[in-house]
Assembly symmetry: C2
Amino acid sequence: MSTETLNQRCFNFSAGPAVLPELVLEQIRDEMLCLPGVGSSVLEISHRSKEFGHILNDARDRFRALFAVPESHDILFLQGGACLQNAMIPANLLVDAEQTGDYLITGSWGKKSSAEAHRFGNMHVAWNGDDDNFCRVPDSSEIHRSANPAFVHFTSNETIQGVQFHTEPDAGGAPLVADMSSDVLCRPVDIDKYGLIYACAQKNSGVAGVTVVVIRKDLLERCSDRLPLYLNYAKHSAADSMANTPPTFAIYVLGLVCKWLQDEVGGLQQMQAINEQKSNLLYDIIDTSQGFFQGHARTQDRSIMNVVFKTPNAELDAKFIAQAAAENMTTLKGHRSLGGIRASIYNAMPVEGVETLGNFMKDFLKANG
Amino acid sequence: MSTETLNQRCFNFSAGPAVLPELVLEQIRDEMLCLPGVGSSVLEISHRSKEFGHILNDARDRFRALFAVPESHDILFLQGGACLQNAMIPANLLVDAEQTGDYLITGSWGKKSSAEAHRFGNMHVAWNGDDDNFCRVPDSSEIHRSANPAFVHFTSNETIQGVQFHTEPDAGGAPLVADMSSDVLCRPVDIDKYGLIYACAQKNSGVAGVTVVVIRKDLLERCSDRLPLYLNYAKHSAADSMANTPPTFAIYVLGLVCKWLQDEVGGLQQMQAINEQKSNLLYDIIDTSQGFFQGHARTQDRSIMNVVFKTPNAELDAKFIAQAAAENMTTLKGHRSLGGIRASIYNAMPVEGVETLGNFMKDFLKANG
């Protein structure tokens, strides 16, 4: 292959780690050997240096401004992904033996989250969409909370099933806890409604290795000194996310992504409009394909981040994926647990990428429908 | 400042995150927008993709070859730093109520490690250098193990005090556990002597965000299913470090650093010789300064990674640090807990950087001695 071919960028529909804004990648590249005026790469500077202090504060300030996080909530940058949060949430919040961790299970990730809670206390499934093959979120009348929830947990967007909450479930006064790993920053959110929000960065806000936690400050009082240091939200909060060496590069990238959302996109309302435009483009093709393309999620619960669908059979699915790859659209294969096709169209996926996929879908329908 | 000045690289003596080989930084830069032939940045590809599978396997294989890790031991790539290991080690290994976690405390990091063990079982301090201001490692006669240690933990190199073990302490048959965060890959190690070795990457093997764990496979049987998923070594081992999304970029950099050590340096024996050459150059200047420069560590326990010393007074220390910075030698300030001067000269610090510092020290001695 020629150098040009070797370095040609594709439209990358990966579910995560996923596409980043090209402007962000270019800045990372340009600064890789030397942060301007610092004499070292961002990879090489001490987390205690004033230069990294500026990077950390800038990332936190931009995230706070962009996501409209009120001063009642703290912002933490942690490691271990959503996986470690699944343990930290009940470990920190489920401290009263009379209380229960309530979970709404709308897909694979919600199921995983709920599976850790019993190690720390009482777990209650307030709704489970497993019988419906996780194709929808619950109607409010279907949610059955426990008598005394310590918190109510839900997954705002299920990456694998392409199912998204478009309004918050009612927590009945208990702290609402949300895994927003795959849709954080895709739209404005009323943070006042939440006790805790967590999101690993590699889908919509940066790279693998950092997880943002937004926690209502009064909940920090629940965190027990008996917890190991790394598992204790209060310790991370008191140390300003520097209880140990934070994932410096991933925090730097998160800051650059927030800057891109502010300066290039214009904020989360604009981002939401673009995300709706992109996802509608694909859903419209699915809906007008006379059943050739079949979406997984119930219409009103469809995700604006992960468009999950299939063709009439697995053979055609495979043909679709292979032909798309040949036309520089990569990673369209559905998750191994569900099969079919999945187009993840996070914030950083350009409209042009979705239009290219849309045109490909129309051509594929004509040729195979 | 001109662009050239803005992008001029310094000799960076940071204790961590720390200097990386320039060849590694250049490759990261060159591949930032597109891994050759892949169509996306390494930051954007799924951890389940065959391309990342290749990167992960390559990093693990290179680390195994370079560090001579036998098949009896598994290699894991985890998040949370040494801080989370301080909890995971007793959580996984201290499962018998009749047993004790034994700790040798030779500096600030060993102290932190030992502070987590009591949450999970019995902790025993087998030696503590606090009374000696952590200037040395124990002689073998000074180590007092408990009657029944589940493991014996030590810190092979204390970054803050510049104290390094040059032979392993005797664990009396119990698994030897070592925090090698700041000296992994600085020299060959006989892995057969160890039950578990852990090292966060940002000092000597890569960037912040990944911690390498080398664990003897029979110890995985101790790991209880009662542990949260992320804290369970056996789960990470069974999932090949992919129990959740691993820190993909940090693993990629670790692989590049191992490749540099193999291809450019020629292996760990050569690296040790260079590290001894570099550290001897500075220690010789200290030793022949007629007491102007005073090293912190006892001579035979001096670190080949972190050279910790001071001048006759704090004012001269500050002058030294400021003048060195003006001559493009950065981050020479000692840790805030100890003061003075610290030159961290990890694998990636070129001999030229140490020579430049050495010449500066001689000049400073002439002018101020």
